[in-house]
Symmetry: C2
Subunit: 409 residues, 2 copies
C-alpha cells in the first residue's frame, strides 16, 4: 500500500557484529539511546546498564492461548489520507515485536529486527505506568494517602518544589516544577537530572548531584501545583521514592512481591538502576514482549489473572476513570492527536468511546488497553528519533483504535 | 567446638539499608570487591555491574531430590590440631549459601547472610571452570585444536606473548606471560588489565587499553610456554575470545546453547561484561546456588543430566585425567596445601585418592566434585579478604575431603 522502505535491522546495519565489532559499529552506554544504535541497544539493555532483577517466582508460566488471525485487511489512514494496512504499520514503524490479544487470546504476534519471544526489551517510559500502578495499589491499601503532602512521607523533599505537592499530583503529573528541558545546558534541571540518573556521563571535575536522592531535593517549583498536566519524569522518581519509603523496599522488590511473582511471567523483569542502585522508575523497565502483554491483560481483566486477584479491582476501576481532561488540555503536552486525554496513575487515558488507555515510551514502546474491544496490544520498537516522524505510525493514535473498531464490527 | 565469633551479616553491618542508605554504608562499583562490602555485593551483582543474560530456556526445572542429613557429627582438624564440625565451618567461613549433594540428592542446604534459594550470587574465579568446560567441548567437536597455536585462530594476538602458545597451554594455564601483579602500579600489566576489564575506574586522561581486545594483544611473554602452571586470568580471556571466534557467538550465547538451556536451571545465569560488552570470562558468572550445584552434578554424572547428554562423556573423562602435577609443582601457585594438584581445563585437580576436582573463586566460592564419594558441594561465601586467614576453613583443603571420607565410611 505504501512504497516507504522498510527500516534497516541491527544486522543490516552491522551493529555489534564480530569479536570485536568494528569501531564505528559499537553500541555503548553513551550512544545507546540514539538511532540507529537503539536498533541493538533496546534488546541488549543488561549489557549496557546495571539492573535490579525482579524474580518471576517459581510458579508455572501463565500460558497465553492462540487464535491467530490475519490482520492485513485492517486498514487505517493517516491525516494526509494515505491508507495503510496493519501489517504496513508493523513493518514500517521500526517494530521489534508486537503481540495483540483479543478476548484474552493472542490473535497476532510478530518479531522483527532479530528479536525473539524470550528477548528482554526496554519499556522506556512505559515503565512509568508500572510504577504508577504499584503506587495506586499502595494508595488503595492506605499506605499512601493521595491527599497527603509529599513532604509528610519524604522530609528530604520539604524544601524542594515537590514538598507541598500532594501524592495525587505527583501520580498524575500535575505538579508545577521548574524543569528546563535543554539537555545540553549544564545549568538546566534536565542536565543535572540526566547526570544523576546515569543517562549522561559525569564530566571531569563534576561536583553536582550524584543520585536521585541528591537531585530531587534541589528541584524547585514554578507555579501552582494541581492546575495542569506537565509530563516530567522526576515525578515518577518521587513516586518511586514514596513507594520505597512506605514499604521500606526497593521498587524492584515491591514489583516482585505484588505483581511479577503472581503474573506467571515467562522471564524475570529488570529495572535499570542509576548511581546508588536507584531504579530509574520512569524509564528503566525491561521484560519480554509477552510478559508486557500479560501485565496489560491482567489490567484488562480488572486485576484478575493467572488464577488470582493481582491488582485490586477498585484500583483498576479508579484508573479507568482517568483524571481531568481540562488539566491535560491546559498543559504543554496537549496536541491535536491527544484531544480529550487525561493522565492518571502514570497512564495516558484516551477517554474515547472505548475507554482505552495506554503506556507510551521513547522509541515507540506501547502497551495499549481497550476494555470495550477486549484488546491488549504490546509493541516494542526502536525508532531512530524520539518522536516518530509521521504520527500516523504512532500506533496508539491511529492503527490501534482502527484495529479496535474492526474487532468490534 | 570453637569460640570464634560468627561473621557479621550485611544486615548486621547496616549495608545498603534505607532509601538512601547512609553514606558510609553504601556499596558501589568501586568498593564491591572489598570486605565488608562484598557481604552485600556478591548477592547484588547485577545492580553493580553490566551483564549478559544466559537464558535458562523454557523447559521445566530439573528438580533436585532431598535426603537431608545431620552433618554436625562430621569433624575435621586444621593444621594446628583444632577440631571443627562441618556446621562450624559453614557458620564461621562467611558462608552465603551451601548445598551438598550425595548420590544426586541434596543432603545439606543452608542459606546465611540474607541469601535465599533464588538469590543470584557471584562465582568469581569459579567462572573460569565454566569457560574451560565450554572450550573443552569445542575441542572435542574439532572446532578448537588443542595443539594449534593461538595466533592461528586469533591473528590479533600474533604479536603478543599468547601468539605462539597452544590452545591447550592457554586452557591449562601453562603459558609464560609477563604479568606483574602489583595492582597499584600503573606500569604493571595487571593494572592496565584491571582497567580494561572494568575492575578499576579509568583515571582522568586515561589513554590505555579500553577493552580485553586491546589489552590482550599487548601482553608479552616471559619465558617458555608449557613448562609450568601460572595462574593468570588473562588466559581465560584468551580462551573466551577463542570460543567467540570459532563459534561467532558471545560466550553467553555459547553457554546458553550448549549448557544452560539444557540443565533445567531454576534461573537464568549472567556474565558480568566489561567495556565493549565483553564477558569477564575469568570471574563474571552469576547464578543461584542450586544451579551451580546442577552444573556440578551434571559433570559428576559424566555430562548426563536432566534426561540428556549435555557435556560429552569423553570431555569429562579427559578433564578427570587432569594435567601434569610436575608442571603445577614448578609453578608459583604450588604450596603445601595443594601438593600433587594439577590445573586442567580451568579446573583445579586434586589427584587425590578420590579424583576430586574443584572450581575456586575469590571470597570463598567453591564447586567441589568428588566422583568417588559421589559428592558435589557448591558453596558461596563473602570472605572479607581474598585469601581466608586460616586455610583450615578453606573448604576444599580440609572440610570437603573430610566430608567425602565420612560419606564413604
Amino acid at each position: 500500500m505504501t512504497a516507504q522502505p522498510k527500516p534497516l535491522t541491527a544486522a543490516d546495519l552491522g551493529l555489534m557484529i564480530g569479536f570485536p565489532p568494528s569501531a564505528d559499529k559499537r553500541v555503548t552506554h553513551a550512544n545507546q539511546l540514539l538511532g540507529p544504535y537503539n536498533r541493538w541497544s533496546f534488546q541488549h539493555e543488561l549489557q549496557l546498564n546495571r539492573t535490579a532483577d525482579v524474580w518471576r517466582g517459581s510458579g508455572p508460566v501463565a500460558e497465553l492461548a492462540y487464535d491467530l488471525r490475519d490482520l492485513d485487511q485492517i486498514t487505517y489512514s493517516n491525516r494526509a489520507g494515505t491508507q495503510f494496512t496493519f501489517d504496513d504499520m508493523v513493518e514500517l514503524s521500526y517494530t521489534d515485536g508486537i503481540v495483540v490479544l483479543h478476548g484474552g487470546k493472542i490473535i497476532y504476534e510478530r518479531y522483527l529486527n532479530g528479536m525473539q519471544p524470550h528477548t528482554l526489551h526496554a519499556w522506556a517510559s512505559c515503565s512509568k505506568s508500572m510504577t504508577g500502578t504499584i503506587a495506586a495499589m499502595l494508595a488503595h491499601e492506605g499506605l499512601l494517602d493521595p491527599e497527603a503532602l509529599v513532604a509528610s512521607y519524604l522530609p528530604e523533599l520539604a524544601e524542594s518544589g515537590f514538598g507541598d505537592a500532594t501524592v495525587r499530583q505527583v501520580m498524575d503529573m500535575t505538579t508545577a516544577m521548574r524543569f528546563r528541558e535543554d539537555a545540553t545546558d549544564p545549568e538546566s534541571e534536565n542536565w543535572q537530572y540526566s547526570v544523576a540518573m546515569g543517562w549522561r556521563a559525569k564530566p571531569e571535575g563534576y561536583v553536582g548531584a550524584e543520585t536521585a536522592y541528591d537531585v530531587l531535593p534541589i528541584m524547585q517549583k514554578a507555579g501552582a501545583h494541581g492546575e495542569r498536566f506537565a509530563y516530567i519524569t522526576p515525578n515518577t522518581d518521587v513516586l518511586a521514592w514514596l513507594i520505597r519509603r512506605v514499604l521500606n523496599q526497593s521498587l524492584a522488590a515491591a514489583m516482585q512481591e505484588r505483581i511479577w511473582s503472581k503474573l506467571g511471567a515467562e522471564r524475570d523483569a529488570f529495572w535499570i538502576v542509576a548511581e546508588g542502585t536507584v531504579e530509574t522508575a520512569g524509564s528503566g523497565l525491561i521484560t519480554t514482549l509477552r510478559d508486557m502483554a500479560r501485565f496489560g491483560q491482567m489490567l484488562l481483566q480488572q486485576g484478575q489473572f493467572n488464577g488470582q486477584q493481582i491488582v485490586p479491582g477498585a484500583v483498576v476501576a479508579d484508573m479507568e476513570r482517568g483524571a481531568d481532561p481540562a488539566a491535560f488540555a491546559r498543559g504543554p503536552a496537549a496536541s491535536p492527536i491527544n484531544q480529550g486525554h487525561s493522565y492518571h496513575h502514570q497512564w495516558w487515558m484516551t477517554h474515547n468511546g472505548h475507554g482505552a488507555y495506554y503506556a507510551l515510551g521513547y522509541g515507540g514502546q506501547h502497551l495499549y488497553i481497550d476494555p470495550t474491544a477486549q484488546l491488549v496490544i504490546a509493541k516494542f520498537s526502536s525508532y531512530p528519533t524520539p518522536t516518530p516522524a509521521g504520527n500516523e505510525f504512532y500506533s496508539a493514535f491511529a492503527a490501534f483504535p482502527a484495529l479496535a473498531q474492526a474487532l468490534m464490527s
